[in-house]
């Protein structure tokens, strides 16, 4: 441990506990400053904390720690001299410094303090101090020149370079210290990747799907490293703040307000951490569609078809797993379009124009692929060749999404893929039906209707329909969609015994499902099913309810598809 080698473990522990409490105080002041506390007194408090840290350093006599604190103390003294206080510059500097001190102390506790970070911090602060000295000199000069009325015009012009210096100084701070977000990093990785993808010839040995798969892990692995560093930093801060909280509680003379503020900051940090964990598996959809477009163009070239893709996906990010699930049905249908186009058109220079649009709709993302056909029969041929129902089900099972294929205005094929924004933390709604509790994805419910808002009617014997808002929809109880072992008691075919109804869409069909009760939506972690349950129809995963019991997440769209098919067969019979 170098200069710390002579420190006894007991002294080290005392130092670490004291320093943790002081750095925690520093953070609390920064929070208060962010919340709008009077800046001068707040900066003075930080200054006092730095002095206290220097005092506590006597226990271990670490030169680097002491020198860095001295430079920071000097920085604060200079900042306090400036008028007006450059709080917009000082706050990020103080917060970043505090974060580096946190990490250094954490490292010290583990036995390997990141000295290089502390040294870099000292140098950066020292350079800012130099810049600040210059600013102060210029300020003094300006004040003296402003005192003489003859030089007023020149004095007004003179500060310009000083202002420019100040701006440079602020930019330097933000550029050197701001940690790039995962999104920024992902976009830069993806930009590099794009540069790699476009000029290269396609890899003949790989299958179509593998071409996409082979790209994915690199993006995720690099992103994982960056984001895990950010998470590590947040965990370190939470850990340190916990120490400070304990210290506050033990002292018992701190106002509740401070404690609440600290807890609020904790919650923000945890929330930020959850966001970062979710972002670990996210991939930009632009990358996905670029690769899809590249793949389609390569496939079409062999058939003499020209493919043009116009993509507008608004910088959306989706989980890699969801995009992988999308790849197969999407590429399959688009390849069929190319295939049919090449067969139908006599000229070999035929072309396919694809317009891809992606928009987020609450908790889901809707991708619309529009493809105009000069010949309407092309669409019918595509429809004949693509097993839409199966594809829709597989997509729903894998990605928790839906697929709609429809013909619009006779000559335009519209493909609609709806997938949840995040499969890992989707919005889940608990609903009870037939005495059992179920969970469903929020995005599959088109609407929720109260019992008073609809009328029910008997239809073709034992079937039921409801009328709501001028529309008539087939109705069934939610629990009737599947086999729960025991038959449900229905008093009369016309009576509808339910508290509410939910409208669920499957292709062009909409069905109303009666449920007893619905909870408000909440973002939850969906646990995957065990292997032996993967093939059970109607199951997507499980979530753990508030009482700790698992609740099955129902693949409503898939079950509605099966139910509607059975219903049609019954009517036909």
């Amino acid at each position: 441990m170098g200069p710390l080698g002579s420190t006894t473990p007991k002294r080290m522990d005392e130092f670490l506990n004291e320093a943790a409490a002081l750095v925690g105080q520093w953070d609390a002041v920064c929070c208060a400053l962010e919340a709008g506390r009077e800046p001068r007194s707040a900066l003075q408090d930080v200054s006092t904390t730095i002095l206290a840290l220097k005092r506590s350093n006597r226990a271990i006599e670490c030169e680097l720690f002491s020198k860095t604190l001295s430079v920071l103390g000097e920085y604060l003294r200079l900042v306090l001299k400036l008028d007006p206080l450059p709080i917009a510059d000082a706050l990020p500097t103080l917060m970043t410094s505090q974060s580096i001190f946190f990490r250094w102390l954490m490292g010290l506790r583990m036995g390997s303090p990141p000295d290089e970070d502390l040294a870099a911090l000292r140098e950066t602060i020292a350079s800012h101090n130099d810049a600040m000295y210059q600013v102060l000199e210029e300020q003094k000069l300006r004040e003296s020149t402003l005192a003489t009325p003859i030089d007023r015009t020149s004095a007004v012009e003179k500060p310009k370079p000083v202002e420019a210096d100040k701006t440079t100084s602020r930019l330097e701070i933000s550029q050197e210290w701001s940690v790039p977000t995962s999104l920024e990093m992902a976009s830069s990785i993806e930009a590099d990747q794009e540069a790699d993808v476009t000029p290269e010839a396609p890899n003949e040995s790989l299958t179509d799907k593998d071409q996409f798969r082979s790209k994915q892990p690199d993006v995720i692995a690099e992103k994982t490293n960056i984001v895990s560093d950010e998470i590590y930093e947040l965990v370190a801060q939470i850990f340190m703040q916990q120490g400070y909280l304990e210290h506050l509680i033990q002292k018992d003379d701190h106002p509740k307000r401070d404690l609440l503020r600290m807890i609020a900051r904790h919650s923000r940090m945890i929330s930020s951490m959850v966001g970062k964990i979710v972002s670990l598996q996210l991939v930009k959809t632009e990358t996905f569609f670029d690769q899809l477009s590249y793949f389609l163009q390569e496939s079409a070239r062999a058939r003499g078809v020209l493919v043009s893709c116009e993509c507008d996906v608004e910088g959306l990010e989706l989980e890699a797993e969801t995009l992988e699930a999308l790849w197969e049905p999407m590429s399959q249908i688009l390849c069929k379009i190319i295939e049919v186009t090449s067969e139908r058109t006599q000229e070999r220079d035929s072309s396919v124009r694809l317009r891809i649009r992606g928009r987020s709709e609450g908790a889901s993302v809707r991708f619309s692929i529009t493809c105009p056909f000069p010949d309407p029969t092309v669409f019918k041929s595509v429809l004949d060749r693509v097993p839409v129902a199966e594809t829709a089900l597989s997509l729903s099972k894998m990605a928790g999404g839906t697929l709609h294929l429809s013909l619009e205005a006779e000559q335009v094929c519209q493909l609609n893929f709806v997938v949840p924004l995040s499969k890992r933390f989707p919005e889940i709604v608990f609903l009870s039906s037939g005495g059992e509790l179920f969970a469903v994805h929020r995005h599959v419910m088109r609407d929720v209707i109260e019992r008073e808002a609809f009328n029910s009617y008997a239809f073709q014997g034992d079937q039921r329909v409801i009328e709501v808002g001028g529309g008539i929809f087939p109705f069934t109880s939610f629990s009737d969609l599947f086999d729960m072992g025991a038959p449900l008691s229905i008093n009369s075919p016309v009576d509808v015994h339910c508290g509410q109804a939910i409208l669920v869409q499957f292709g062009n069909d909409t069905i109303a499902l009666g449920v007893d009760e619905i909870s408000t939506p909440a973002r939850m972690i969906v646990k995957p099913l065990q292997k032996h349950l993967e093939r059970v129809p109607g199951l997507c995963g499980t979530v753990v309810a508030g009482d700790g019991s698992p609740v099955p997440v129902i693949d409503v769209v898939g079950l509605v598809g099966i139910h509607l098919a059975k219903r049609r067969m019954k009517v036909a019979a």
Binding site: D483, K531, P537, T542, P550
Partner: protein, 166 residues
Amino acid sequence: MMVARHQTHFEEKNAFLLYHDGGHLFGTPLSQVKEVIPFRQPRKLPNTPDGYLGVMSLRGEVIGVVALSYWFPSLKAEQQSVLMQSMIIAHGISGETLAVVVDTIDGVALAESNEVVPPVSISPALAHGAGHGAAKFAQGVATLIDLRQLCASMDASLQSKSALAG
């Protein structure tokens, strides 16, 4: 010294967990048993066959819960109070964990290899490699079943598919 000899026996494959279900005595190699816990009410799952009782959360892991009648339909007749029942948490070959509900746990007993006789054909499942055979213990003659094999060959969708088709 006696303890050491006893432990050596347990490390070999001859230690069996004995349990009763539906009036029958069963035994399972101890190496396949992760733990034994009191019965907990599982959450029922739709579209699953009879005998598949649902899922439960065990220390954060959501695991399937099955009754032995899932594999041995003849055991259905006798039902024990749930208060008396236990769950054997067994390891599957693929690393999955499964809870098997049984009526009572009878303890652990040792059986030498030469004491195990070929499987008694009480179910077709035993004929598919899931049966170790039968052995005589102080509690009676036990059917020795390979829970790991049974868990691995499990597919909860098989029976439900036919139910849906009907």
